[in-house]
């Protein structure tokens, strides 16, 4: 846990404080993102925590201990540190780079070797292949994986990360972000993550702190910043597409309608049609007894048909996993001109239904509302 209390930093001779009375608490195991335009004090604020920059006034505590009562060297060995430029030591092998803090702490060679291999595995690099390489033999993405591994070497409870993925190309950045979130889900470190990229902030942060001219402007869940920006600055910083950005935060599971209306393949066509007319349904999902999605039927298919629905069912090939994010789901709906998407699990069991009306409502202000109206399926099999 990190607690900042009226933290202020004034550089000698500067008229304006670089950090101006910032108070906030980062609970154990959370990623807190510091974001803001360049010069807003986000990096300074981060570097105050491990005393790379001396505090002017206020107090900071890490895991309940006031940092000013600790030796700065000891303090930094307890806090992982990752920077944008990676900063691997070029004259040391990957192993020795990762072993930086353990060596300072005087671990035995056997313990260090074991830990290095464990960490390489954690960041998805084969220890046999990478252990003895030098930094110049690594790609940018590999180097930053080592940078992260080095920061975690002595298993610190807390990590400071200054734009760790900022210098990495967009495709690899996504991969590294995902990998890091996966690692974090397991290790639950308390992390300060500095970035200037709002998309990264929304993706990585459980809590986002927006700074401007050294002052805390708004702190909260990413969703709150997007949905309820505190002022015009926040609104313009998060961007005019803030509503679309929220789609990245939400999963299909959060938006889908549960227990959608459906019929079973063994139901009689006449009965089903009767119900559909009565309830004004243009089409209906067809499932088997185990809730496995078989497809759909529309009124046109059933009209005059004698027998079971299963005989005339149309295949529904475009489905979505409940774990996908809503941006991807919406993109799929737009590109295939779909009014609804059926969410199914890996075995094809129906989990719920996502429709455009719900989606639009959800990304608007009232996102706690569930449900919505069915779309319409055309004869060509498209759902409008």
């Amino acid at each position: 846990m990190i607690e900042l209390n009226r933290v202020t930093k004034i550089y000698p001779g500067a008229a304006q404080p670089a950090v101006d009375s910032v108070s906030l608490t980062v609970p154990q195991g959370e990623i807190c993102v510091f974001i803001g335009p360049s010069g807003c004090g986000k990096t300074t604020l981060m570097r105050l925590i491990n005393r790379l920059i001396p505090l002017t006034s206020g107090s900071i505590s890490v895991d309940g201990k006031d940092i000013m009562t600790l030796n700065p060297i000891e303090l930094r060995r307890q806090i992982g540190y990752v920077i944008q430029q990676v900063g691997l030591f070029p004259h040391m092998t990957v192993r020795d780079n990762i072993a930086t803090v353990p060596k300072l702490l005087g671990w035995t060679k056997a313990k260090i070797d074991e830990r290095v291999d464990e960490l390489l595995g954690l960041v998805n690099l084969d220890p046999r292949e990478f252990r003895d390489r030098y930094p110049r033999q690594l790609s940018g993405g590999q180097a930053q994986r080592i940078g992260v591994a080095r920061a975690m070497a002595a298993d610190p409870t807390t990590m400071l990360m200054d734009e760790p993925f900022g210098a990495i190309d967009p495709i690899n950045r996504e991969v590294l972000q995902d990998e890091f979130l996966r690692i974090q889900a397991k290790l639950k470190k308390t992390i300060i993550f500095v970035t200037h990229d709002i998309n990264e902030a929304i993706k990585m942060g459980q809590r986002v702190v927006l700074l401007q001219d050294g002052r805390l402007v708004q702190a909260g869940l990413p969703d709150e910043l997007l949905n309820r920006p505190a002022n015009e600055f926040v609104k313009s910083f998060v961007g005019s597409d803030r509503v679309l950005k929220r789609l990245n935060l939400l999963k299909v599971r959060d938006a889908m309608m549960l227990n959608p209306v459906h019929c079973l393949k063994g139901d009689l066509s006449e009965k089903v049609l009767e119900q559909m007319i009565k309830c004004d349904l243009a089409f209906l999902i067809v499932a088997d007894r185990d809730q496995k999605l078989l497809g759909y039927v529309n009124q046109y298919d059933l009209r005059g048909h004698k027998g079971m629905v299963g005989d005339v069912v149309r295949k529904l090939t475009l489905t979505v996993s409940p774990e996908r994010n809503l941006k991807e789901a919406l993109s799929q709906m737009l590109s295939y001109d779909l009014g609804i998407l059926v969410a199914v699990d890996e075995e094809g069991h129906i989990q719920g239904v996502l429709n455009s009306a719900t989606l639009f409502k959800l990304v608007g202000a009232t996102y706690d509302e569930r449900g919505g109206h069915w779309g319409r399926i055309t004869a060509s099999g498209r759902i409008l």
Partner: protein, 217 residues
């Protein structure tokens, strides 16, 4: 008599002078490295002093070597060392300072600040950053300065014979006064050979001491 014949006939004398040469050049270099590298490192922490010191060392290089040997005679006579090995060593130390100082200073300063930040941020002390990161990273460049100093000192060392320090310069000066070409050539060839050999040996040493991670290929 050809140079070859001269060398063969005077082999033991040549070896004796080469040994003298090696001794005072080695002593001078040992002192120059032992003072120049730490001073160069220290100067990176004191920029204002750095400018002055590097400037003085630069001026030192412009003094012609013969003149320097001559200039020191009155000063060192006070201590009874006006001529001989002592002034030779002192002159060589002064000449070697600039390449060693300048390469050390430049190398330490050129270490990427982000790497130093990473070292400090991971809990190294300033001394650990210096000794475990900055100096090992600078070794290659420091070595290039030392190699310049080595080759230069062996060459300038020949002039030390002029003030009675002996060494291979003896052949050259005696050859000149006696207009004895083979003797001059023998001295010159031996000085060159020594410089080439020393440079080669320091090259090998550099390869073993400088991390593979810093090699450019």
């Amino acid at each position: 008599m050809t140079t070859y014949d001269f060398i063969v006939r005077n082999w033991s004398e040549l070896m004796h002078l080469a040994w003298q040469h090696t001794v005072f050049v080695s002593i001078a270099l040992a002192i120059a490295i032992a003072t120049g590298v730490p001073l160069g490192v220290y100067l990176t922490f004191n920029r204002r002093l750095a400018d002055t010191v590097l400037y003085l060392a630069g001026i030192m290089m412009t003094v012609p070597s013969v003149a320097l040997f001559g200039l020191m005679i009155p000063f060192l006579s006070v201590f009874g060392h006006g001529i001989g090995t002592v002034p030779a060593v002192i002159a060589l130390v002064l000449y070697s300072q600039l390449p060693i100082l300048r390469s050390t200073y430049a190398a330490i300063r050129s270490v990427d600040p982000a790497i130093i930040d990473a070292g400090l941020g991971n809990g190294m002390t300033r001394a650990q950053v210096l000794f475990k990161i900055q100096i090992p990273m600078s070794l290659g460049v420091i070595f290039s300065g030392v190699r310049v100093a080595v080759v230069m000192s062996i060459g300038i060392g020949a002039i030390a014979a002029y003030i009675g320090a002996g060494g291979l310069g003896q052949f050259i000066f005696n050859g000149i006064t006696q207009t004895y070409d083979a003797m001059i050539n023998a001295g010159a060839v031996a000085v060159s050979a020594m410089a080439i050999l020393a440079d080669f040996l320091f090259g090998r040493l550099e390869k073993t001491l400088v991390s593979k991670g810093l090699r450019r290929d």
